[in-house]
């Protein structure tokens, strides 16, 4: 599990360190830097995988940009020099990987150059790279190459966790199967593509009554109360809506109020909230899901009360997965206040962060912990959602 993420000089993130839990929710005004944080982790992921170029970034859901956009452009503070490179560091309990990347502003290159790399496994240095070392391709990460020689251990585990990281931005049309997925990935594309195929695996796994998938499947049925069942199948030209489909398969929901024979809805017809619930459930349960991922705007299409209930269940799923030795960690961004009310924050593995910009525009991140002060507010009938909307927690726009 990633315990700490540090990044410097990336977009609005001049210098930020975040200590992460299993489920991490980031709230903040539009433009506060939430997505920059997720994308910075995406750049680090590409670096850990050995190449930081447009393809590697797009494959992780990161918006590619020119070096002048990626590098922080704040005027330097008095007495301090602006960093000439991007800096990223990730730490697990027993390992660390850090990297600095450079790309000239005036003559940008397709791939970023590695200036330094450090890969630690406990106190053992698996790899060190400095700007003075010559003879290596500067556009190739050495840790990724070195990993071929490393047999297990926390260092390799951390690197592989980073390499597999992606940012999901589920899009309703892709979840429905009426728009093509642009970033294919197993089990789910970055916009939620291939949901029906991933659901087939999920349904197989959930047949085991003791499995996490079975538990998640029950929760999904509880959350989508109008459906008596859900499944997947090939599209049927005769019965399914005629709108153009991008996949031969679709998810199916059975409406519990309608008569048999006319009560099955395809992904094209079903409510978008149901698809987003299914997406998050399958992502949590599928064995091929990344160990570490982000979901941007995780509350999309959800009624506030459903969003609150869903995030509560999602926290249980990720805690249960890790208790069953299935490594899973997720970062979420949201604008839905009720999501906050669903977070069991007294469990240290569940964390809430506010993201704000300083008066000079720099992104800052602060963890909201449940302390005696907050509990006193709760005793007076206050909720986190109301405290957030009123601005008491930070992370709100000045409008």
């Amino acid at each position: 599990m990633l315990r700490k993420l540090t990044m410097k000089a990336f977009k609005s993130v001049e210098d930020v360190a975040v200590e992460l839990g299993l489920v991490n929710v980031f709230i903040g005004a539009n433009g506060s830097g939430k997505s920059n944080l997720l994308e910075g982790l995406g750049v680090l992921s590409a670096a850990a995988n050995g190449m930081v170029d447009t393809d590697a970034l797009l494959a992780r859901g990161v918006r590619p940009g020119t070096p002048s956009l990626y590098k922080t452009a704040f005027p330097p503070r008095r007495g301090r020099r602006a960093l000439p490179h991007l800096y990223f560091s990730a730490e697990s309990a027993e390992a660390r990987y850090e990297v600095t990347l450079h790309n000239p502003l005036k003559s940008p290159e397709p791939a970023w150059r590695y200036k330094t790399e450090l890969w630690m496994d406990g106190a053992d240095k698996l790899l060190g790279r400095s700007v003075r070392q010559r003879g290596y391709n500067p556009k190739r990460g050495l840790a990724a190459l070195k990993s071929a020689e490393v047999e297990g251990g926390p260092g390799l585990s951390l690197l592989e966790t980073l390499q597999g990281y992606v940012i999901y931005s589920p899009a309703t049309a892709v979840l429905r199967g009426v728009e093509a997925e642009r970033r294919e990935k197993i089990p789910l594309g970055l916009a939620g593509g291939n949901l029906a195929i991933a659901l087939a695996d999920f349904k197989r796994m959930s047949r085991d009554r003791n499995s996490l998938a079975n538990c998640i499947s029950r929760d999904i049925r509880g959350l989508i109360d109008w459906a008596s069942a859900y499944s997947y199948s090939r599209l049927n030209r005769r019965t399914d809506s005629p709108a153009g489909a991008s996949s031969a398969y679709t998810v199916r929901f059975r409406d519990r109020y309608m008569r048999d024979g006319r009560n099955v809805l395809s992904g094209q017809d079903v409510s978008e909230g149901a698809l987003h619930v299914l997406f998050l459930g399958v992502l949590a349960a599928h064995p091929d899901s990344p160990t570490l991922c982000s979901v941007d705007n995780a509350d999309q299409g959800l009624n506030p009360r459903l969003a609150k209930a869903l995030v509560g269940r999602l926290c249980q799923w990720y805690v249960s997965a890790n208790e069953a030795q299935v490594a899973r960690q997720i970062l979420l961004t949201t604008h839905n206040p009720l999501i906050l009310d669903g977070l069991p924050l007294q469990d240290d593995r569940i964390r809430l962060f506010t993201v704000s910009r300083t008066t000079t525009g720099r992104t800052t991140i602060r963890r909201i912990e449940v302390d005696d002060e907050l509990l006193a507010r709760a005793a007076d009938g206050w909720t986190l959602s109301r405290l957030w909307v009123m601005g008491h927690l930070g992370g709100v726009p000045d409008v």
Partner: protein
């Protein structure tokens, strides 16, 4: 088409809501019924026992509704948008104390309030007073119906689905602590587990058995009598 009946319900749990849905469907087969499930405005972060489901959740909703109604639910806006309000807690709550639901500073420390059972009525009457206290006292409105199955909702479910169960015919059926034990012993073709899924599937059976339940069980009969009064009022 008849006018839609909008029913706001504060219930202990999701299976209780399904049973209420079955009962209302049975009582008003010709009307469209919309159930609006009420929940307290709480943060899981502040509730170590979870998101205040169970009777603790009903307590919190009642207190918040009374506050919003400037002291009593009678002043709450909940009835502007709903025809009646049903507040459900199981009678076994009468045997509990507030701490068991994580309620630290109750308005009145009036639990437990159970009396010897049978008869169930002594206990349910005492608990009705407690719930009315949660709701802001005796000024509560005529559109309010308290639903207090004794000892819990499963006594009604078993009686509805398995009416020839010999235990259901006994005078102490509404005093049994765990009527849900009988769910697993029901005839196979009617057997239910206490889950949303099973209750949803069994909803037509529960609805079909409701008239018998209302005729046989004292507290069910009271609920069946109170609902039309509130709807008519």
């Amino acid at each position: 088409m008849s006018e839609t009946l909008r029913v706001a319900v504060a219930v202990e749990g999701p299976t209780d809501r399904i049973v209420l849905e079955a009962i209302l469907n049975a009582m008003y087969p010709e009307r469209d019924v919309v159930l609006n499930v009420l929940r307290p405005d709480l943060s899981a972060a502040f509730a170590p026992e979870g998101l205040a489901g169970g009777w603790g959740g009903v307590y919190h909703w009642c207190r918040q509704a009374a506050m919003e109604g400037l002291g009593s639910v009678a002043g709450s806006r909940v009835l502007d948008h709903n025809d009646i309000l049903v507040v459900h807690v199981d009678a076994d709550v009468a045997r509990k104390d507030y701490q068991s639901a994580g309620i630290v500073n109750p308005t009145n420390d009036n639990l437990p309030c159970a009396s010897p059972c049978p008869p169930p009525r002594d206990t349910t009457d005492a608990l009705r007073e407690v719930v009315m206290d949660w709701l802001g006292g005796p000024a509560a409105c005529r559109k309010l119906v308290l639903c207090i199955p004794s000892m819990n909702m499963e006594a009604w479910v078993v009686a509805a689905v398995w009416e020839d169960n010999p235990l259901v015919g006994r005078s102490d059926w509404e005093c049994r602590s765990n009527p849900e034990d009988q769910l697993g012993q029901m005839p196979l073709d009617r057997r239910l587990r206490k889950s949303q899924e099973d209750y949803r599937q069994g909803l037509p059976l529960i609805a079909a058995g409701w008239p018998t339940v209302a005729a046989r069980l004292e507290e069910a009969g009271r609920f069946a009598a109170d609902i039309p009064v509130a709807v008519g009022g």
